[in-house]
Symmetry: D2
Subunit: 479 residues, 4 copies
């Protein structure tokens, strides 16, 4: 079964850093809870200080600590805080019963508490068996949330937690917030009747969105769904701007490599590739690009990168980075020809880009030299430095700034509001992008962070441009 | 009447530089023909060396000189030359009778001769009364083309030339290649019946495309039309990459200003604004941005620019650049507050952005200090340096590289081929973008210029990605 | 005789642009005086409006026009204007009799009038037979200056003008301001006794400084001399910052080349090379560097440039730029191997870097395609685009911003003040650099242009650093 | 006593990362030896496998592991390996008896083994009580080196180790390699007679060099000393290029801050400041600069940074970075006015730049949120994020690439060779910089890492330039 693969993705097993953290976060402290007792949370009797026991987490005693992390995250998520403020008058989610399945982190907690402030009831599970911040889950439980998640769930635990979210006597969800599609899948499989009362699905991940489009194509999507993943703000931030920073961060944390003067080949010149190339060029690397698409190829040329085939430069480069979304971009043949010490890593959206399996042969020796860093050693002594076993470098070996997560979380909140309040007929049983105007609204909520001042159109100008003064300002396809 | 305004746009009156030139061009020499006799070409008896007289130009004796310019342009237009080569076997435009109305330059000549090589017959007029390179027109006439154009036409001449193109006993066009919509307008007005045999219109300009959409909306478009202006290759090249260079060039040629340390405000952060900002930042200017669209505003922030309202910085900046496409962005109130010596110019798509009219008041003195450079002097002695009277700086004061024109010309050629050969029913009476795959083809034809080597998908990879190995590689909306 | 070669350097013959211009300048207008009468100024009876006739220029009637140019230049030379203001109380050059020999331009006029305001008397000639702005010379003459210079002097005129400056009954100069060493040479040769009363020489040019060091070495330097050329402010501005802009400007004005995607090799990675490389990289070119010095070579690597030998890339590059100060860097062998259309130019400090002489052979055809642009055509049709016949691109084909000239002029003024007022014994018969503190003072006078606010050391901090609060802040050798 | 302060600098106490690491290093593994037994090495009987016991380290059993680290470091230190190869014929250090006192790391081990290959005998102690890599010390001891060092020495241990190096019956050092001056100080204090046979001192650190200049000034320096710290290669690499990378790395590892759009003020625009500013600008930060030196200030302007006083921007910036070398640059007054969440760190050369002491007041709460990260909390809840308690961010919170260390180590080796072999009289009892030519040699040995190809002067060119074909190519003061 293909379902379930995402939440079990092994990068978390070997990654003590969760993919989520924040400038003001207290993450370091969370590492210490490895000394916790080993009893399964499912076997424990749990109650919060008010006597409520409708949750299942690791350790309610960590609640204070988790609360501090949430407070710190709040400072970096001004858009959600602004939504809360506006919600003091109106409650756009009054009556909404949201089941959620996402990473359980301080940032998610800020989202959940915002939804509540907007009028919603929430029940939540984790979308990944490793990524839960236990202290945050504790704070949520203490705050009255029905949360079912801990770090290090088994696969059975995983589905049990989802089921506990959904399956409560006398409670029926009417909105789904999903990240990866497992929650949606579970309801489809176990409680298909629930969809009668569900007003819509908000899905964040590539994988989950892909599933929804498949359902839609097959005529099996029975409620409207909002594709948050492809919002322009999310795309640009997660890909171009975020990768511009995380490629440097991921490489430094794992290898301490000096970028100046290094020869690097970046495979793929989409948004991720563009971000990686810009950063490395700025740090003094000499960057080559490979592409299959002539338009992106021409962009690479105009941006000052030599466009090559991988075999033209594979012997001379110091670093190989894949950003294609494709499979078998770096195959054994290329790995054989790399020079000693060459660093190989993946920034694309899956672990298929580097053919890591081809390196698991008897004549090659693997040596784990650091967390996330393997030396693969050829019989002649040549070493290749493989990062994160070919999984995503930025998720495995660097962190995602809260600010980026804030954009996504705000988009999720607005998507919920939109679907929940949309008049009958606005959305059919299909997959939608958030209306352009809401994308713009998300962006506008984040401008104060930069003390950025937007210009307003005069009436005369708006008329000249044929635009509404309040937007949207661009066609939907504008990127 | 609004029609006709574009071809008469005054920037050409004061601009001895045509907007078109080439690295290897002999432009300088063309200035000398101002000593030509003053007889109107319409009053002259003209024949080329083979006795053909179906053309009207300035001076057939300049043909050799024009031929040299064309040969030089050919070197920078490899894609059209490649099309010619492929046309040795097949003639995709066999039977096509193309009437064209564009700038008459060496680059256009390369396009026309390519269309002929592909099997077409061509008759051509100028879309602008000032931009014709007389020696190129001579070379075309000598080569057997029916071309009706000269530098310095009157408005009456302008329409007379267009009419001569279209209205020939025993000849009926079946394709239109237009730049600005005047040719299309003329046929609509004078020879509406011609449209019965016309297979399609290819239109390059913003203005012309706008007219076509209006016709389509009004249900009056009676043939399919191809919008070349909005092709991704054209957009990116004309806007981002070309403006990145021409903002520096235009400012230097007119003012010799040193960029390092200068404070600049760029109004608008679309593609043009992005190009301007990137270039000026790289040259050591301190750049501020204004925006109305929160998404572009957030991009400006992430790219490292302070997002301000114009009034916050107007007193301190050394240079003001408009790139909005809007009107009255820089109004008298702002001009009054600028500091002495402030340079004001426009890179947007019309001459409305700076309210130049507001400066034509008695208390202000205008002083023309160079071609395209005016000092506007306040009663207290303050001088504002206004470039190109607020018209497009890049068209008025810098040149457009042949390479960029090559991309557009190739797109035009492919659009003609597509419309001419499209099976019945593929295109209706509407405005279309060139199919993505053809955009990609245009791009691929320009990669050899950069010695750029594209990677090909393996069968397995194509299958994995769900793509055809030959493209298209991205959805239509991808930018 | 080697002396005299500089003022006659042929780049001026073919260069209608003087090397000097200004954002607010009226240069364009000065081209019109070509219609002036052809009588030699030496043969004319000349008087200004006050009846003074101790000058020799082209046409006193142009004085008003020249005055406007000077006023405009004043706006861009804030440091000299600040010196004038401070001079209202004290006259540090009271009693100074300065003979000068420099380019006669609006910027020089601002310097001369500043020296006068500081108390000096000035007599002036041109250091170059082509670079005099006649209208500026007229304004100076009208203002009472004894100036002897016009555009288009013969060699004989040149020395006659210098002699008229120096050789005046009853007047004996006590300071020399020279640019190129010709004035100094003339006095050495004709009036060696004058040196008895001369307090010092201020020399700006590389050539002139070189001569002074040779005189010093030979024990023949009989007064102290100040080497203005090697001041850190001048070096950095003339080389790094100015060339960063002028390489782009020079290439665009001559060839309209698009930088994006072009492959460029820059020979030499000193300050000039660093400036060129940074600019071209920023514009999207792919830049290769050649170097002889391993330290500069390592800097090129760390800055992200492939360090190559010229023969490794000569076949593939689109542009070749020399910045070495060396000779025969680009020899015929390399020129033979360049690809069709390759652009070749020189940014170094002499015209020896490209072996242009080797291209003057019968089998190659030269074609002048624009001012400063030659096509050299091989028998097989290959064309090389040679700029400025291998002379300095930035002087021949672009302009020098007034701001840069302001730094140099201010340094010259301070050097004069320093030498004139130095107590006996501070300077011997040797060549000196301006004291660091004065360099810093020059820099500080230019900061207001950028609205830049310097931080002051507290007493405690100055003590901690062992510095005087007013500088100098760095050792002399700091760059 | 001021001496000794450096080796005890507390940043090491809280920094589990040594300042030294390498792309291929196994550092992570070394953290595990904390489980080692607690017996003092001084109390243990130690012998290597050959029965040699003239050393004192933590645990000889770690030798194999240390050897692997050394082998890996060798791959990144090509210059030392090249020196070894050349040493197969000649032994320029034959007879040299070197006592060394530096950080004991894999990179130092490569240096020591190179010195041995060149003919020297070495005895070594650590210059810092925390920085010794125990496994490397073990490998050295096993290899026959007399090394006296372990991680976590007491101050008494520290001096005991140094003494054991120096004070050996029948052995008298003739060369000193010092980092910080403690070894030199010890010999001055305890064994002043040893200097009679000592040929020279090579000193790397700012502190140590400062002491030597003081000794020299006081007439107490009794042997020549080589100042390795101020070599151009070291300065440029340690400062400009290395800081360009480590500012990003240090900030990311400690705070995960997103750089895009952040407002940053960098205090000081020397080499370090230039590196920090360039990196942050490239990542999309908006950077302000403060300076006391008008020349550096003007450079900042030309490089595109607003030059401000700290108080003008202190309320609005997100990050404050000091790079001045000065004291009390960021004082309590500024800290009071920073906004919530502002990050404060130091990249300058001491821990005096931020007045951290002023934050140790009762009304402020300190909260350690991660290793090297403190929140300082104001009564109103405002938090400042203070990194490394104001000590050097790049040493405390990021790593130094082996490549940079290689340059320093090679310079040290060449300085030893130069002093040891210099003919009588070349060096007096003074402090010297390494001859320019040797600097160039160090650089040239590192070029192969980048596959960089140096151009050689022809005889004719060398003559023209007045240079020796083999260098030196620039004057000594060239930077």
């Amino acid at each position: 079964m293909k379902f379930g693969s995402r939440r079990l993705r092994p990068f978390c097993a070997s990654c003590p850093l969760t993919p989520l953290s924040a400038p003001l976060s207290l993450l370091a402290a969370s590492y210490t809870d490895s000394s916790d007792d080993e009893t399964s949370p499912r076997d424990k009797q749990q109650k919060n200080s008010k006597g409520n026991g409708d949750f299942c987490i690791k350790n309610i005693k960590q609640a204070d600590f988790g609360r501090r992390e949430i407070e710190i995250a709040e400072q970096e998520m001004p858009a959600l805080m602004a939504l809360r403020k506006r919600a003091q008058g109106e409650k756009p989610l009054a009556g909404a019963k949201v089941v959620g399945c996402t990473h359980i982190t301080a940032q998610t907690a800020v989202l959940m508490e915002t939804l509540t402030a907007l009028g919603a009831q929430c029940r939540w599970a984790a979308c990944n068996i490793y990524s839960t911040q236990n202290e945050v889950a504790a704070a949520l439980a203490e705050g009255g949330f029905s949360v079912f998640a801990w770090k290090g769930e088994s696969e059975d635990d995983f589905w049990w937690c989802i089921d506990r979210c959904v399956n409560l006597e006398g409670w029926q969800p009417n909105m789904i917030l999903d990240d990866g599609g497992d929650l949606t899948h579970w309801i489809y499989k176990k409680y298909p009747n629930m969809f009668k009362k569900i007003k819509g699905i908000v899905e964040e991940s590539v994988t989950g969105v892909h599933r929804l489009y498949q359902l839609s194509k097959a005529g099996k999507l029975c409620v409207p769904a909002m594709n948050v993943n492809d919002s322009v703000t999310k795309q640009k931030f997660d890909n171009l701007y975020c990768c511009r920073e995380s490629i440097l961060d991921g490489l430094k944390r794992t290898t301490d490599v000096m970028f100046g003067g290094k020869q690097v080949v970046v495979c793929g010149y989409g948004e991720v590739g563009k971000g990686c190339c810009a950063a490395l060029k700025a740090m003094g690397s000499i960057v080559y690009v490979t592409e299959i698409d002539p338009i992106c190829a021409l962009q690479a040329c105009m941006d000052g990168f030599r466009l090559v085939k991988l075999n033209e430069v594979i012997r001379q480069v110091d670093i190989v980075i894949t950003c294609t979304g494709n499979k078998n971009v770096v195959v054994r043949e290329y790995l054989d020809r790399m020079k000693n010490g060459c660093i190989v890593c993946n920034m694309g959206h899956s672990n298929t880009e580097i053919d890591v399996a081809s390196l698991r042969t008897p004549e090659l020796t693997w040596e784990r030299v650091r967390s996330q860093v393997d030396h693969v050693i050829w019989p002649d002594g040549k070493r290749i430095v493989l990062l994160a076993e070919g999984r995503l470098l930025n998720l495995s070996c660097s962190t995602v700034p809260t600010f980026v997560l804030s954009i996504t979380a705000t988009t999720q909140a607005l998507a919920l509001i939109e679907l929940y309040n949309a008049p009958e007929g606005r959305y059919k049983q299909d997959v939608y992008l958030l209306p352009k105007k809401m994308d713009e609204y998300v962006a506008s909520l984040h401008l104060p962070t930069f003390d950025a001042h937007l210009t307003e159109l005069s009436d005369e100008q708006a008329k000249y441009l044929g635009l509404n003064k309040n937007g949207p300002f661009k066609p939907n396809y504008y990127r």
